[in-house]
Amino acid sequence: MNQAIMKLRGVGKSFSGNRILHGINLDVLPSQVIVIIGPSGSGKSTLLRCCNGLEVAEEGNIEICTQKLLTDGRMLVDHDLNHFREQVGMVFQSFNLFPHLSVLGNVTVGPRKILGVDKHEADTLALALLTKVGLAHKADAMPATLSGGQKQRVAIARALAMKPKVMLFDEPTSALDPELVGEVLQVMKALANEGMTMLVVTHEMGFAQEVADVVVVMDQGRIVEAGPPEKIFVNPNEERTRSFLQAVLTRNTPTGGA
């Protein structure tokens, strides 16, 4: 499809002889939420990190918002890469908030240092974003004083402050205590409802079922299958998908029901 906001074609990568990604093809339409699931080591995080150049894919093409990040295995460099990244927000498993800056400082540092926005305007935008993630009252707090869930919500606000066209989430709830997962997923759900294009690597099958437009199942560096959650979770084509889901769902619900 031509109106895809994100186009991956034949993306491949290896790490010291080991194949991590094999010929990945993926189209993401504007406002779509794509959830990538799969066993650990399947290459899903690597794929996500390739989409903003934190990892270098050596093969294929990656295009986001008509900007080519990867052209036949050659990645953008320097200024072009920095500029590209402004449009692609990233949320990490381990939050990676800047510990020497306040919550407000974390959210404003991007617009101020990269886009040259003045302090007043950056603060206004940051407070609006912090209100959105329910943390306006923590604007002056230092990251070390926040809970994991709060940290991740600040990290989402920080990424949004650059007004990205696409948001990448790399296991955003995996480092959280179980009772804090909900507040982060709620923010992500709200974001999806506003029409943000999102690529989410997660083990939260409930979130995938509820929010995803497309669920992508990965294993051993390949896309096993992709489809709407109704299809993937209820009646997958591939045996590999079935066995993975079974393993995950029995772990998540000790009573045995899915």
Partner: protein, 222 residues
Amino acid sequence: MSLDFLPVITGWDDLLRGALVTIEITSASLLLGSVLGLLFGIGRLDKSKKLRYGVCSTYVIFIRGTPLIVQLFLLFFGLPEFDILLPAFVCGVLGLGIYSGAYISEIVRGAIQSVEKGQMEAARSLGMSAGTAMRTIILPQALVRMIPPLGNEFIALIKNSALVSLLTIADLMHEGQKIISVSYRSLEVYLAIALMYLILTSATSMILQRIEKHLRAGGAVQ
């Protein structure tokens, strides 16, 4: 054994003047050493930039691997062979600064490398250039971690500065030796000098502890 501190008392003004020169020369070398340390420390972070990495590594290897006194003499007695005549004080500052710069560069490198990889990734993923990310995200965090080892380095620098007395610089050590040469009271004068160096080094470490405590209280470090 009888102690006679009279030469110390009569020569007190000279000793104080010498201490002032020691403070001046260590402050200047410290500034030079910190600038060099920062530049060369950052230069050793990226092995892919071969030339820069090579230059920085050579500097550290040469300076750490040879005696400070030899380096000072090379500057003081060697440079005139090339018709470069620097005042003794300048030689002293250059020698001490270049010497401590090599050690500080290792401190800088270690502190920067101790900042979690995710910090750089988060900064770059926002769209920051490597330079901006280093200045606004990595260095502020690394600086706090540098303070304890820098304290050691500054104290070593103060003590090492006694060697510049051999370049005819009238520092604390030099003034002390002048008093000894007329009074022959080595023990008393060296005790007095030792005490004055101790005061200088203790004051330095106290100031640095204050700074570190202040930064930690400000939440700059987790």
